[in-house]
């Protein structure tokens, strides 16, 4: 089922965008350029208001479509060529207005944050069986590919390209479902299978600023283009988001107490990175600072820790052992017998005891957090099904496009 789509950096969209820029630089289109520039400037006169902003942009697109159709530079152009010009226009205008139009209300940022936090808690324990996803559809490789596509959504500014990330993600899932039905062991169950997988993939991907991205597409993708199949997949992601926002124990096939406990643990674990950013790095720095074991070990550890969390933790313990050998134990009572102790040792013993308990607790929480959030998603290499509509531009060409002017 792997239908390879050429993913060259000069995608049709990119070509049409440069074509659009070229035509706009033609002196004959000065009137169009004037309208576009004055529209972009006029946008900053108003306080951000998503509904009226969206309507203003959509109206502008419609009026520009008429102007382009009537324009000498596009005389005798086919519908397809006009459409290309409109795609170029949408990209140009929305790239220029991006910072003003994307996540422009304080509420948007708050909602984005809340969703991201809820998802990262769910990530710590959610399994496919909680959504009753049939075993035959549990394909790590397809899911990772779908997650990757969805995860790119924030890398683009143009509404069309953001929408393409959603389409590509859905296409991967779609192919997984069609493949499963071809194996004859599984009857194609349509949306009954599609939506749970999309929800699971969305949770695994935790795409940045999910709410703001959906809102941006809804408001600023040309309305004539947010129809049919694109609208269907878009609606599915909106509904996946909505499901996640309202998700509680009864939304899943999970014991209610188990759900609450998992959420509590996840809440605690998720707090750790805020307080001390990265436990692994923290451990490493701490060891280096305290012991002066030497850069060799520290660097060695750092290098090896890249190969995976499990390794890095093993190395941490190795390093800790080495630390004891080189500097002597920081816990001098390890070799002591009860009869050697005096009342004067109690204070120090208590301090060391508290220190050890603190370290152990932090390490446990951090490990649980890292193990659940990173190990699950960190090891995928290679892809199985490249069945996407179109690969968005490379970051280099994207930067060039962002800065493009007419």
């Amino acid at each position: 089922m792997e239908t390879a789509t050429a993913s060259s950096s000069s995608s049709p969209a990119s070509i049409s965008f440069y074509d659009f820029l070229d035509r706009m630089r033609n002196p004959a289109s000065l009137d169009l350029v004037r309208s576009i520039k004055s529209f972009i400037v006029s946008f900053s006169f108003y306080a951000p208001n998503p509904e009226s902003d969206g309507k203003r942009v959509q109206d502008f697109f419609l009026s520009m479509e008429t102007s382009i159709r009537d324009h000498p530079l596009w005389a005798g152009a086919s519908d397809e060529e006009i459409d290309c010009a409109m795609e170029g226009l949408e990209k140009y205008v929305m790239t220029k207005l991006f910072s003003r139009a994307f996540a422009c209300c304080p509420d948007d940022l708050r909602i984005d944050q809340e969703i991201a936090e809820k998802i990262s808690m769910l990530q710590t324990f959610l399994r496919p069986e909680h959504l009753d996803i049939p075993t035959i559809l549990r394909s790590e490789s397809s899911w990772l590919l779908a997650e990757k596509e969805l995860g790119k959504i924030n890398a683009h500014k143009a509404p069309r390209e953001k929408l393409l990330c959603i389409m590509n993600c859905c296409r991967v899932i779609n192919n997984l479902l069609l493949n499963a039905s071809m194996s004859e062991k599984h009857v194609l169950a349509g949306a009954d299978d599609f939506l749970p997988v999309l929800i699971y993939v969305t949770i695994k991907a935790n795409p940045p600023q999910l709410h703001s991205n959906l809102k941006f597409i809804q408001l600023y993708r040309r309305q004539a283009k947010l129809t049919s199949e694109a609208a269907y997949y878009f609606t599915n992601l909106v509904s996946a988001k909505s499901f996640i926002v309202d998700l509680h124990a009864k939304s899943l096939s999970i014991d209610e107490i188990e759900f609450e406990e998992n959420m509590q643990v996840a809440k605690l674990a998720n707090k750790v990175p805020d307080e001390d950013p990265c436990p692994t790095r923290d451990g490493e720095d701490g060891l280096r600072r305290e012991t002066g074991v030497g850069t060799f070990t520290a660097m060695n550890f750092k290098e090896r820790s890249n190969s995976g969390l499990q390794y890095s933790f093993n190395n941490l313990f190795e390093l800790a052992k080495m630390h004891m050998i080189v500097t002597g134990s920081p816990y001098p009572f390890m070799q002591a017998e009860a009869r050697d102790l005096t009342v004067g040792d109690v204070e120090r013993l208590l301090r060391l005891y508290k220190d050890v308990v603190d370290k152990y607790t932090n390490l446990c929480t951090a490990y649980r957090h890292l193990a659940s959030s990173k190990l699950e998603s960190g090891h995928f290499k290679g892809s199985t099904a490249s069945c996407c509509y179109e690969q968005p531009e490379t970051s280099v060409s994207r930067q060039r496009e962002d800065g493009a002017d007419i």
């Binding site: 089922m1 239908t3 049709p12 969209a13 049409s16 519908d79 397809e80 006009i82 459409d83 290309c84 795609e87 009753d132 393409l164 389409m167 296409r171 899932i173 779609n174 192919n175 479902l177 069609l178 039905s181 071809m182 004859e184 599984h186 009857v187 194609l188 169950a189 349509g190 949306a191 009954d192 299978d193 599609f194 939506l195 749970p196 004539a224 283009k225 129809t227 049919s228 199949e229 694109a230 269907y232 997949y233 609606t235 599915n236 909106v238 509904s239 909505s242 499901f243 309202d246 009864k250 939304s251 899943l252 509509y389 179109e390």
Partner: protein, 200 residues
């Protein structure tokens, strides 16, 4: 099973990025309609649609076959065409609250139940009430009793289905996605009932 016989051309589902298909205006002769499928999981919603989409052999018609979104154009006798864009919805209880996102703006709703499952008939009635409350008032609604080939296991009589549909001014039909019985009739009947824009 009736649903898994042959696989559609995999390229047919590809979205043509820049075509103007979507912006093609609907005129009096060529309608484009959004059809939403509702019903309990396992009643065979997607099988009905797959049967319908695969069963059309007009080589000129553009089809889209995905796992949950499909489109198919049919030609009627009066030389008009109707392009159905079919939106499948997840039938599991836990997704019930999401349905309005899907049926918003739909011109047709097809509510499916399984004639061997009274629970699915109850669920169908729930969807009809939902649509009456929240759907657009001029929506064409059809009630479909599927799995009509499993006569020996029938638990919902066709009389019950028909009466309920009449009471709610819906079109009623029993189908079998497995044998393809009444599948085309379902869609042709819906096409006839669509309100036509005034021809110019």
């Amino acid at each position: 099973m009736g649903c898994s016989s042959s696989l559609p051309d995999r390229n047919s589902g590809r979205l043509s990025g820049l075509n103007s298909e979507n912006s093609g205006a609907t005129d009096a002769k060529n309608l484009r309609v959004k059809l939403v499928l509702l019903g309990d999981s396992g009643v065979g919603k997607s099988c009905i649609v797959l049967r319908f989409v695969r069963g059309q052999f007009d080589p000129t018609s553009k089809v889209t076959i995905g796992a949950s979104f499909l489109s198919q154009t049919i030609a009627l006798q009066d030389s008009t065409t109707v392009k159905f864009e079919i939106w499948d919805t997840a039938g599991q209880e836990r997704y019930a609250a999401l349905a309005p996102l899907y049926y918003r703006g739909a011109s047709v709703a097809v509510v499916v139940y399984d004639i061997t499952s009274p629970e699915s008939f109850q669920k169908a009635q729930y969807w009809v009430k939902e649509l009456q409350k929240h759907g657009s008032p001029d929506m064409v609604m059809a009630l479909v009793g599927n799995k009509a080939d499993l006569l020996e296991n029938r638990e919902v009589s066709d009389q019950d289905g028909m009466e309920y549909a009449e009471k709610n001014r819906m079109f009623f039909i029993e189908t079998s996605a497995k044998t393809a019985d009444n599948i085309n009739q379902l869609f042709e009947e819906i096409a006839k009932r669509l309100p036509r824009p005034a021809s110019s």
